[in-house]
């Protein structure tokens, strides 16, 4: 007779349950991990550059901003910053939601919603930057 505290009763076939519920590896974890790190690495210099640029642009007019983005280097760096920022944000928010929101309507809504918002914001930023710089 096992000790009551050590005795664990299993009345569910775990592997079959896991299959039905779609649990287990999604086969996309390594891609997510790698993409998160690559964007992080790119954002280290881009963020430092953007902090300096933001300070220099304090009180700038629309013409100043357009003039600044008209040169190829700031324009390309800005586009890189936007791409890396929103990709990194989308991956990070996804992990946070997956970790803390467990009830399904809310979970799926947030996971899809944050992705849509990240993509839309990135496109808005791309469009505005190109409009100003080109």
């Amino acid at each position: 007779m096992p000790h009551p505290a050590e005795h664990v009763q299993i009345d569910i076939l775990r592997s079959q349950l896991g299959q039905v519920r779609g649990l287990g590896a999604a086969r996309a974890g390594a891609g997510h991990w790698w993409s998160q790190r690559l964007t992080a690495l790119a954002l280290v210099p881009l963020t430092l550059w953007f902090i300096c640029a933001a300070i220099r642009l304090e009180g700038a007019s629309r013409a100043n901003i357009a003039g600044w983005l008209h040169a190829p280097v700031p324009l390309v760096l800005m586009l890189c910053l936007i791409a890396a920022t929103f990709r990194h944000l989308e991956l990070g928010l996804r992990v946070v939601i997956e970790d803390y929101v467990h009830q399904n309507p809310a979970r799926l809504t947030l996971l899809l919603g944050q992705r849509v918002i990240c993509i839309l914001l990135a496109l808005f930023c791309f469009a505005a930057t190109l409009e100003l710089g080109l």
């Binding site: 896991g18 902090i51 469009a127 505005a128």
Partner: protein, 143 residues
Amino acid sequence: MTDVRDALMVGRSSDGKLVRRPLSPHLQVYRWPVSMALSISHRVTGVGLGIGTLLLTWWLVAAATSDAAFAAVQGFLASWLGVLLLLLWAAALIFHLFTGIRHLVWDAGYGFDDHVYRITGWGVVAVTAAVILIVWIIGLVVW
């Protein structure tokens, strides 16, 4: 076992016996080491910076749209709430940057020794505080 999700909380110990997995982290039980506080702050600032991208998008789109739209965003950024948000945004960005670099070093396989862990943790706190102060001062002086 009434909730089917309990089935996921069952594992085998090294001698093959079925055991309930312990649930971790025990936030109410642990003493808070610096790394734990930095880890959760990294997430909090990450989400905060995500919300901050709304401000960046508003600024860029307004600048690309019209003088009136741009005057509105500049007016908001010059208000006390706008300045406060910009200062917090800069602080969150710098903090997330340095804790993020610490994460990248771990990903490369370094810095896991107990004493190194604590040194880099407090080092990040010190560097972050210093850089935030410098950026705030330069930002406010230029403004």
